[in-house]
């Protein structure tokens, strides 16, 4: 025989202050959890979205980042000539050799950041499907012109169309802004390879990226490239490469999320335990009546567990509500793995909200367990005497 849920609902309403303060406490824990996970996921999404499953990125053997890689012109040409590269609309192979360096720029807020400066050829826009110029125009070949990624525009000086930025001892004119669906490319400065090479490291690219004709053949492409003694390269699926670049920081953020939310949860659970014990204590006469009427102790226990869980769910929903405004807020940090500055947005997804509520449910369950058991074990006579 189950105790009707309406009993729990009414009881909660009868002690609004206690119920609300416990719920809000849990809500804050859920908020912190969701916020930190959203940070971690936002970062990971920005990185992961950067790479395509259909592209291969080729680096010098043993390089874990583009920064330390070096591919000479000859090697780049050899790679560009392999047969598994897809062809663009005009029949040209969709391959993009790129210079990659870090440039120190002063932030508009305090401090400096290391911003990625990437050398490209026009093919870069074909190879990378999600990049497009949203303002201004493409760089003219042979000119010291640059494109600025969307997320750089607001955070650094002299990034407007027509402005000049100075680095590597020369002035570069900003001719366009580009977007890349929130990926790491949006935190980069793009210029022409032939202009960047003399300015930076000379006749060497850092990577060669190409679109596969047949993405399912990746393994054989990889083997073919890596076993070629002329080349001395590593080949990775672009998606995997960028996912790997996010590994360290997203692990740290995930760990921090669990650590911080976990400790906060301890506090919230203790609060819930107190609240439920008080509730059980105050309602001893009612419990006695229920037991006398014939409800089984197990039903009493599950009823109180349910009540604790209801408070928790309320808290979880509040936490989710508070976390919604965070979604989409842009922040930036240095990805220490690649040493480069990357901007990304908090990402609150429905599945994260669900996890938040589940987290709350677990807190409520743990908090309600012992008080609920006490309610069930209550000797009927003693309780009745209190009535």
């Amino acid at each position: 025989m189950k105790i009707p849920v309406i009993y729990n609902l009414r009881s909660l309403r009868q002690r609004p202050v206690s119920t609300l303060t416990t719920a809000v406490g849990m809500g804050l824990v859920v908020l912190v959890f969701i916020a930190m996970m959203a940070l971690s996921r936002g970062f990971r999404a920005a990185l992961v979205d950067t790479g395509s499953r259909e592209n291969v990125i080729v680096l010098r053997k043993g390089s874990d980042t583009e920064l330390v890689s070096g591919i000479g012109r000859n090697t780049a040409q050899t790679i560009a000539a392999v047969p598994f590269i897809a062809r663009g609309p005009e029949g040209r192979p969709m391959v993009s050799p790129e210079v990659y360096v870090l440039v120190s720029l002063d932030r508009l807020t305090e401090g400096e950041a290391l911003v990625v400066a990437r050398g490209i050829n026009p093919e870069a826009f074909e190879v990378r499907k999600n990049v497009e110029i949203v303002e201004g125009r493409m760089i003219k070949p042979g000119s010291p012109e640059i494109l600025i990624g969307k997320s750089i525009v607001d955070r650094f000086a002299n990034t407007g169309i027509g402005d000049k930025i100075n680095f590597a001892s020369r002035d570069w004119t900003v001719v366009g802004h580009f977007a890349a669906s929130g990926s790491a490319f949006e935190s980069e400065i793009w210029g022409e390879n032939e202009q960047f090479m003399p300015a930076f490291r000379g006749e060497v690219f850092q990577s060669v990226t190409f679109r596969m004709e047949d993405p399912s053949a990746f393994e054989s492409i990889k083997t073919s490239l890596e076993s070629d003694p002329r080349l001395q390269v590593d080949a990775l699926r672009e998606y995997d490469f960028y996912a790997g670049q996010s590994a360290l920081l997203s692990q740290i953020l995930n760990f921090a999320a669990v650590f911080i939310a976990g400790i906060m949860a301890i506090g919230a659970i203790f609060g819930a335990i107190n609240t439920m014990y008080a509730a059980v204590g105050a309602r001893a006469p009612e419990i006695a009546v229920l037991l006398t009427l014939g409800f089984r102790p197990f039903s009493v226990m599950s009823s109180f567990l349910l009540e604790a869980t209801m408070i928790a769910v309320l808290g979880g929903l509040l936490g989710c509500l508070f976390s919604l405004p965070i979604n989409g807020i842009v922040t930036s940090t240095t990805n220490w793995q690649s040493f480069s500055e990357v901007a990304f947005a908090f990402r609150v997804t429905p599945d994260l909200l669900l996890r938040g509520v589940l987290f709350a449910v677990v807190m409520g369950f743990i908090g309600g367990f012992f008080p609920a058991r006490r309610a069930a074990k209550q000797p009927v006579v003693q309780a009745a005497r209190q009535a």
């Binding site: 202050v17 206690s18 303060t21 416990t22 809000v24 406490g25 804050l28 824990v29 908020l31 912190v32 916020a35 930190m36 940070l39 053997k61 043993g62 390089s63 874990d64 980042t65 920064l67 330390v68 360096v101 870090l102 440039v103 120190s104 932030r107 807020t109 305090e110 401090g111 400096e112 950041a113 290391l114 680095f167 590597a168 001892s169 930076f200 490291r201 360290l248 740290i252 911080i260 400790i263 906060m264 301890i266 506090g267 919230a268 203790f270 609060g271 335990i273 107190n274 609240t275 014990y277 008080a278 922040t331 930036s332 940090t333 240095t334 220490w336 040493f339 500055e341």
Partner: protein, 381 residues
């Protein structure tokens, strides 16, 4: 003081409730001081850079090296006493995830400039005498279980990554300043030069004869190299270090926001406890007033009770944090050198605990103050 027994008796009225609340506060304060210490550690890391040392690096960014030829000219700059250089090696021991800092340095000129690298004279001699020798921080020795005079091999994520570079540990240093970090690895630049054609100084460090001359020295150097192949940017070592710290971005804001959430979450728990216990004691409070306890006295008693709970919990949380991080030697996987819960942070934590108590106790204390005597007594009788 004489009311202490009364306060204590009230706290023990419901031991479970009091203990759980104290533990809640302890958890919150633990978190609080830990987060704050991340910030203080980063702040202290800025202080490691001395004001008498200056750093010259490529104007483009730190990832670009400088020509070896610069060494000669830099020595001639007025105001500069000594010059040395270092390069980032990107050393990896077995697992790349086990990060630590590796520097190739011009040992003869570098060590005198960095008294922070404190080694016994004998070990220093042994290190200087051997090309493949290394000076390793005591923390790193412990982390990897290395011993003095052991030969270990590292790989470099920058120079020929597939090759193993053997090093013999001839010296172990204890940093004179904890923020300098005890997990750094230094070896001879000459060794790097011998094994790799790409070896170049990553940055130059100069010792100033007069710290006040920093700005003019910087200008002199950067002007000189402005139109060369490798333009420079020169700044005090402190500014250089600070630059790295700012690369973390707005971590301060994030941690403070979390701190606020933690504070409020626990405030609710503590306030709830105080209100629950107040509700049970309404009659007793009326009796106390009958005996002549004034409204103000009762207010103070309730506030004190709340403060005792939060302060005891606070002390517990802060002490646990201090012990835990002290004993485990936590340094944030190398990113937080010298991490510790400082006494100043502990004090801030306790002040917060007191505030927590005062705020959580306020409403029940106010209610106790305003409690009407005869009405309350009549209610129960």
């Amino acid at each position: 003081m004489k009311y202490l027994k009364l306060i204590r008796a009230n706290l023990f009225r419901n031991k479970r409730r009091t203990v759980l609340t104290m533990c809640s506060v302890a958890a919150a304060l633990f978190l609080f001081v830990t987060l704050r210490s991340v910030l203080t550690t980063l702040d202290d890391a800025k202080e490691v850079g001395s004001e008498t040392r200056m750093v010259t690096r490529s104007a483009i960014s730190i990832v670009f090296a400088l020509p070896e030829a610069y060494y000669q000219w830099l020595q001639t700059v007025p105001g500069v006493d000594n010059v040395t250089w270092a390069s980032w090696f990107g050393g990896v021991y077995r697992d790349p995830k086990d990060f630590f800092a590796t520097f190739a340095v011009d040992a003869e000129t570098y060590l005198p400039m960095y008294p922070e690298i404190n080694v016994p004279a004998q070990q220093r001699e042994a290190f200087l005498a051997e090309r493949t020798a290394a000076i390793v921080g005591s923390g790193l020795m412990e982390r990897f279980g290395w011993s003095l005079n052991q030969t270990i091999s590292l790989r470099s994520s920058i120079y020929s990554p597939s090759e193993e570079w053997p090093f013999t540990i001839r010296a172990v240093y204890e940093p004179t300043n904890p923020s300098f970090g005890d997990e750094n690895f230094f070896f001879h630049y000459d060794y790097l030069y011998e094994k790799s054609q790409y070896a170049q100084p990553g940055w130059y460090i100069m010792l100033l004869s007069d710290p006040a001359a920093a700005a003019s020295v910087a200008e002199t150097i950067d002007e000189h190299y402005k139109n060369s192949r490798a333009a420079t940017r020169t700044e005090t070592e402190r500014a250089f270090q600070t630059g790295f710290i700012t690369m973390y971005g707005n971590i301060g804001f994030l941690l403070n926001a979390i701190g606020m959430a933690v504070f409020f979450a626990i405030l609710f728990v503590a306030a709830n406890t105080m209100m629950m216990s107040a509700r049970e004691r309404v009659n007793e409070q009326a009796v106390l007033k009958t005996l002549g306890f004034s409204d103000g006295l009762l207010f103070a008693l309730v506030m004190t009770e709340a403060a005792v709970i939060t302060v005891v919990g606070g002390v517990l949380g802060v002490a646990t944090a201090k012990l835990l991080f002290g004993l485990t030697g936590f340094q944030g996987a190398g990113f937080l050198p010298g991490f510790e819960i400082k006494w100043s942070t502990a004090v801030v934590g306790l002040v917060i605990a007191v505030f927590l108590g005062l705020i959580s106790g306020f409403v029940p204390a106010w209610q106790a103050l305003r409690l009407p005597i005869s009405q309350t007594l009549r209610r129960v009788a």
